[in-house]
Amino acid sequence: MKRVPVLILAAFAPLMLGQAQPILVPDVSQKKVEIIYSFTGAELLLFGAILYPGGKSPDKPADIAVVLKGPFQPITVREKQKVAGIWINAESTRFRSVPTFYAVASSRPLDKLIDERTASIFELGLGNLQLSPASGATPAEQQRFEAGLTDLRKRTGLFAQADNDVKITDDVLYRARLAIPARVPVGKYTAETFLIQGGRVIAAASLDVEIHKSGFERFVASAAENSPFTYGFVAVALSVALGWLAGAVFRRF
């Protein structure tokens, strides 16, 4: 195993000549995640190499943070309040651009790696997402709704933050596993990798990952969307046929 980083370095050696900044060579275990009938979630492995100029790793080892985020949607967050004894949706606020899925992992706790300003520039960490609130709510209200949203999505596994989950081998190779829950929406995702040293992001790279339904699931979802009338008719026919069949079978006994 020790030989692998050396080999990778050797392979990239010509590229690195005269390079002052380190570069990242990222990869993911799956560029396309397919949702089929047995899908109960997946695990995405984000890994890669850090190439330092001259092949020498610095004296003070750098840290890595990886982010997987995807389909951005405008959403409305509603808050329930007790009105006349029952809990009903009372206040609401809108956000223009919210990732439906956001998972971040880092080699050390994020708040020890970077300051708040850097964190919000690169949207690193659950508290630092730029959600572009659309309504004229006060900052305190926005914060309350953002906290509510984050908490809600954390419960379903759609938002996750794992400190210490990126493993770095010999200051050169890194890898991290991110869990994708079964409720994940389909769409385009980006996997970002950040190399962090001395509180600054010194290199970044990103890759596209696509999550889509395939086979029967894709067929059903697109039929429901594109030919709703036929789809509804098939659903009705299916229920009548099954109801009839059971009756017919049982009449024989």
Binding site: L149, F229, L242, G243, W244
Partner: protein, 304 residues
């Protein structure tokens, strides 16, 4: 055995859903109800989004009522004229229901409205059924026969203009009354995913004053077609009908319904009614508690 639901976008245990369908089917066979009033809340408790639950439960009710309609047709227990008027009302109602559904969804109150309707309807009907069942059980025990209620339609129904003859039901009333009844249940079918039998049967008996022999058959006939219409309406408007979920529910419920129908012949009808009333009240109480207790998560997200 986990299986992914392509429209609900989550994976469920197939056996749990089939079992749930089977349980509801058993009850629906025993009591002659569609069972939608149990399916939708149970699916919601299991974690299926309310819209998908209501949309897919309607097709389960369709499947459950098919063999019931067939059985009643065999013994000439369906008033087609009355049923046809109710279906017409139901189809119009389901379209109106879809419009109402969207309106409520946009204002963010759909979940509360669903829960409140369940509490009011199930609580009211359950209490009435329980009272009736207890009164008649007491009558059988003490041996004092109940006064036979005179079959009559409600004065309000009598005041409606423009009368038709409904021979099988033994009625000469305005078709507007069954049309309106169909309309109301059509709305409920789309919003709650219920067939509406638990409202129709008492309404047909006590408001319209129909002959008892055709009440259940005609209500099943109406439920069959209106749940079909509701499935179509959901498929074309909310696009929330999950055919995989519906198929799993159906497999369980159509089988359960057959066993339930056989089981029902072994239990005294009065006790059966009391049992059903208890179950209806239980669901209503659970829903009421859900409204009053502080929910686990007070925030909800919708895509706008």
């Amino acid at each position: 055995m986990d299986i992914y639901l392509p429209i609900a976008n989550l994976s469920v245990n197939a056996l749990v859903i089939i079992g749930l369908g089977g349980l509801v089917g058993l009850l629906s066979g025993m009591f002659g109800v569609g069972g939608g009033f149990l399916t939708t809340p149970l699916l919601i408790f299991y974690g299926i989004p309310p819209t998908v639950a209501a949309a897919s439960a309607a097709s389960q009710v369709t499947g459950a009522s098919v063999s019931g309609v067939y059985a009643h047709l065999q013994r000439n227990g369906v008033d087609f004229r009355m049923g046809g008027v109710m279906v017409a009302g139901g189809v119009i109602g389901s379209i109106a229901g879809a419009w109402l559904f969207r309106l409520l969804q946009e204002s963010g109150q759909i979940d509360t409205v669903i829960a409140m309707l369940y509490v009011i309807l199930l609580g009211g009907i359950g209490a009435l059924m329980a009272r009736d069942a207890i009164v008649s059980i007491r009558a059988t025990r003490t041996g004092v026969p109940l006064k036979v209620r005179k079959r009559r339609h409600h004065p309000l129904v009598a005041s409606l203009p423009f009368r038709w003859r409904f021979y099988r039901s033994g009625l000469y009333i305005s078709p507007l009354a069954p049309l309106l009844l169909g309309f109301v249940t059509g709305i409920l079918t789309v919003i709650l995913g219920v067939g509406g039998g638990f409202i129709m049967v008492p309404a047909m008996l006590y408001l319209l004053g129909m002959t008892t022999q055709v009440v259940v058959g005609t209500s099943l006939f109406q439920i069959l077609f209106v749940t079909m219409a509701a499935t179509m309406v959901h498929a074309t408007t909310t696009k929330a009908v999950d055919i995989v979920l519906a198929a799993l529910l159906l497999i369980g419920s159509v089988t359960g319904a057959q066993f339930g129908a056989r089981l029902a012949q072994k239990i005294k009808p009065d006790y059966l009614r009391l049992l059903l009333a208890a179950m209806v009240l239980l669901v209503a109480i659970r829903m009421a508690l859900g409204l009053g207790w502080r929910p686990d998560e007070i925030y909800t997200v919708t895509i706008s």
